[in-house]
Every structure is written in structure tokens, then in C-alpha cells.
Amino acid sequence: MNIGWKEIKKNKSRFLILGSIVFLVSLLTMIISGLANGLSQDNAALIKDLPDGHFYMSEDAEETYNLSRIDTDVQNEIMNKHPDAVALSIQMGFLNDQDDKQQSVAFVTSTNSDLFEQVNKGEVIVDRSLKEKGIKTGDRLTNNQLRDELVIKGFVDQKKFSHAPVAYINMEDYKKMYNVEQMQIVFIPGEDSSESFTGLQSYSNKDFLSTIPSYNAEQMSLTMIVSFLIVISGMLFAIFFYMMNIQKIGLYGILKAIGIKTSRLFKMIWTQMFFITIIALTLSISLSHLFNLIAPKGMPFHLTIETTTQLSIIFLVVGFIGATLSGLQIRKIEPLRAIQQGED
């Protein structure tokens, strides 16, 4: 007989209250995680979508990609040694559309590579978010630092950098716009460990993301919020079951007196915890993914199945720990105490 389930059936409102709280906390956690991921994508999708590898910037750049300049000879040495390596540059800038409206973009250019869009001189491929602002294929855009016009060749999905849509331009156009000859960064995909190149400092993908201004601060704040929500949900379980257990000390004592194993009483609260959490999580996952579909287009919201799965597992583990901690008092309950005390 599943006594845990019988108790839920009899005391629906009590468990409904706990379930509602867990549902609300988990929904809030999912939504904030979605926003954290969305902001992270909005800030660095260009980098996050790259395979694992190593980035190289000049040592004197002080971890700032804007200040980095890769020596051409060193770049050639790397490219000869690693044919799949790519040299790239990123600069924040503006494009003026046909109505002369200024659009903030992150200009990106690179050597020949499948990892970055390649365009001819005078062409540009931009993130699809600009399409929603009225820009179409074939539009001619201008830039204050470039005499020639740039023709929209196409759009790419979800390519953002520093909260701006990415604009892939040809290296010649880039050099003219920024009056530079050298690339800022070299990326070697698939490297397990970094290599040493003269005058260059290596960064893993994660380390490189940290060099993006505001990325770390933004992500840390959101991660802290998510962590707190998870801890709060664990505490909720512990407190709720603790309060329930306190009320049921007499009952547990009698059950122990008649011969029920302590382990069975633990199974009872675990069953209840898993039942409540799974229902609450199912609802919050469904709603948060629905929100993913209906969230306003301008809102950076990105919730993946992986994230929801991870959060669900964390919630179950935290709930399990909370319920178990509260249940530790069951072990100490003496049947005698229950017999000597009155009925509830």
C-alpha cells in the first residue's frame, strides 16, 4: 500500500499549496534561465555557436579584443600549421538603411572559413533581426567610414554580438572602414590544449566570452538569481515537510510501534516529494516553453530542452535533499513518546 499517495489523496489542499509554490518557483527559475540564456545568446551567439577550440589575441591587448592586433607573420604561421584556423575581427559600428536610419551592428570579417559567412567586396550578410526592422535583400546600406555602399546579400539566424546584430563584411571593406591591416583574433577549432605562439595569449571559448564587456557581470547576476531560486525551492521542501513531520510525530511513533520500518516512512515522504515536484515541473516546463513561443520578438528569451532538463534534475535532487533532511527527525522518533501523548 502506498501510504504516501493515500495521504496526498486525503489532504489534497495541503499538497496543492506546496505544489503551487514549487510550480511558481520552478516557473520563475525557468523563465529567468530563459532570459539568462537569451541575454547570453544576444551578447555572444557569434562566439557561443563556435565549436570548442582556442582563441588567440595579442599579449599587449590586455584581454580586450578591440586592442588586439595579430602580427601578419604569426597569423600566416598559424594558418599554415592549422588549415582550419581562422583569423577574424569584430568591431561595433553602424549601418544606415535606405531611409537613412542608423542600425547598430557588430561588423565581423574573417579569413576563409566555414565558421563565418563569406561575402564579396561591397556585400553584407546580416542577422535576421534587421529584417524585422524593414531591411530586405538587395537593400543598399551605407556606413560613415566607407565610401562605397554595401548591398544586403542575405540574412543569418541568431548571430548576435554584444547585443547587436552581426554584419558579415568582406575583409577589404573592413580594412578600409577601420583603416587597419591586421586581424584581431585567431581561432583554432578542436584544440584540446592551447599552443604557444610568439606574442599571443590563448583563451578557451569560455575565457574568451569573459573578455566581452558586461558578459560576465550580466551572466553572474542571472546565475545568482537562478541559484537562489533553486536553493529557496529546496528550503521550501525542507520547511514544508519539517512542519508536516512535526504535526505527524505521534502518527510516525504509532506506525513505528506497530512495526513499520523507518525506511518505509522515508519512502512515503520521497514519494510525496517526487509526485509534487514532477507535476509542478511538468506544468512549469510546459508554460515556460509556451512562453518561449509567444515571448515578444524583442525579448531575448532562449530556453532549450537541455536547460529545462538540467533544471528539472537539479529541482528533483534539491527537493530530495530537502525532504530527506526534514525526514531525519523521523529516525529519532520514539514510539513511546507517541503512545504517551494524546491524539491529534
Binding site: M1, I3, K6, E7, K9, K10, N11, G250, L251, I254, L255, K256, A257, I258, G259, I260, K261, E334, P335, L336, A338, I339, Q340, G342, E343, D344
Partner: protein, 227 residues
């Protein structure tokens, strides 16, 4: 035939540096199918003696022998198994599980005692005992909808549904009025005699003593006389 023996059982409680000897070397035997009442003033040690005999707390010294097993040398798990299978309990209050129906209370007890009966046989068993205690019509009721007397009858049914060898009853009529107390004692006597269950009962109520086979008068941690 003797089924239960207490040999020189002592219980000493320590409170700081003060030692209190609650039981001062009690020896007694319970015969199979016999109803024995422990009577005495408050603090005489009768409830302590009952709980030690039932394996709910250990003795400080002495031996508790049940059906050839020495409870004092057994592990807690071994004692729990004996409690679940061989003992039945009725307390001053019914202490029913509030979220189980009358039928489920009894089914749970059968399950805990390790009954080998099939689910259908267990339900039949439950129906039979509910019939005997006159509660069959209330088998789907929860404890909150039962009267005090009904609850106590269910508690008695729970204590004997698994056919224990010994029934321990700690003031089973204390929460009932005079009429219901007599009904309850009649029920306990009829059922335990019918099922040949040995009963050890603590009571304050002298009226209940007419239902028992033997009375043990306790005072100050000793059994003074046996009637």
C-alpha cells in the same frame, strides 16, 4: 503454557546525576490466552513494564523472553519484526492513521505483519473482523468521521487482525465513557479468547478488572501481589 517471561527486569532512568529505579527486578510469566491486568498508582511502573515487555524500550537489566526468544539480546530490527508479526497494540487513544479508511488501516497492518494472504484473502479477513466488531458498514470511513468508541474498536481490530500471539493494551478504555469502556473490554475479552491471544493490559479502572483472568498489583517498581 507460558508464552512470555520477564526475569528480574530492572529499569533505571538517569536524570543528570540522579538515578531513578523505576522497575526493581520484576519477574512474571504470562500464560497463553490469559488476560493479565497491571494495576497500581501512577508512577508505580506499570506502563514502563508494559512497554519493556512489548519491546518498545529496553530494560536496564534482566531478561524478556517471548516464545523462546530473548528480546533483550536482539537487535532493534529483530525486535521490530517480532512487534510487527507477533504483537498487537491498543493504546489509550486509537491513534488511527488519519488519511486511511477503516479498511485501509487493517490492510496496512496485515501488510506490515508480513501476511502471506492474497489481496482478496486480506480483504475477506478485514471484512470478517469488521463484521465481528460491528464496523463493516463503516469500512470506507476515515477516522475523522468516527466516534471515539468506533475509533477504539477499529484500533482493537487493527491490533489483532494479523492474529498476534500477544496483545499489549495501555489503558485502552481511558478515553471512553463507562458504557463504551465495558463494551470495549467485552470485545477485547471475546476476541482474545476466541483467537487465543495472550493479553497484558494496564488499567486504572477497577470496573474493567472483572474482564481479566489475573491481576498484578504494582507499587513502587515492584509487583506486590498476584490475584
Amino acid at each position: 503454557m507460558t508464552i512470555f517471561t520477564l526475569d528480574e527486569v530492572e529499569k533505571i532512568f538517569t536524570n543528570g546525576e540522579i538515578e531513578e529505579n523505576i522497575l526493581k527486578g520484576i519477574s512474571l510469566s504470562l500464560k497463553e490466552g490469559e488476560i493479565t491486568a497491571l494495576v497500581g498508582t501512577s508512577g508505580s511502573g506499570k506502563s514502563t513494564l508494559l512497554t519493556i515487555a512489548a519491546g518498545l524500550q529496553p530494560a536496564s537489566n534482566g531478561e524478556v523472553l517471548f516464545d523462546g526468544n530473548n528480546l533483550t539480546t536482539m537487535s532493534a530490527e529483530q525486535v521490530r519484526k517480532i512487534r510487527a508479526k507477533e504483537f498487537g497494540f491498543v493504546f489509550q487513544f486509537a491513534h488511527l492513521v488519519p488519511f486511511l479508511t477503516v479498511e485501509e488501516q487493517l490492510m496496512l497492518m496485515l501488510e506490515v505483519s508480513g501476511s502471506t494472504l492474497s489481496k482478496k484473502e486480506q480483504k475477506n479477513e478485514v471484512d470478517q473482523i469488521l463484521d465481528v466488531i460491528g464496523m463493516k458498514h463503516r469500512k470506507n470511513a476515515y477516522p475523522s468521521s468516527l466516534s471515539g468508541g468506533e475509533k477504539q474498536r477499529v484500533a482493537v481490530a487493527r491490533a489483532i487482525i494479523h492474529k498476534p500471539k500477544v496483545l499489549f493494551a495501555d489503558e485502552p478504555t481511558a478515553s471512553l465513557d463507562s458504557k463504551r469502556s465495558k463494551d470495549m473490554m467485552e470485545l477485547i475479552r471475546d476476541l482474545t479468547k476466541k483467537m487465543n491471544i495472550t493479553t497484558l493490559m494496564v488499567t486504572h479502572d477497577e470496573e474493567m478488572l472483572s474482564y481479566v483472568d489475573r491481576i498484578l498489583q504494582m507499587s513502587d517498581g515492584l509487583v506486590l501481589e498476584s490475584q
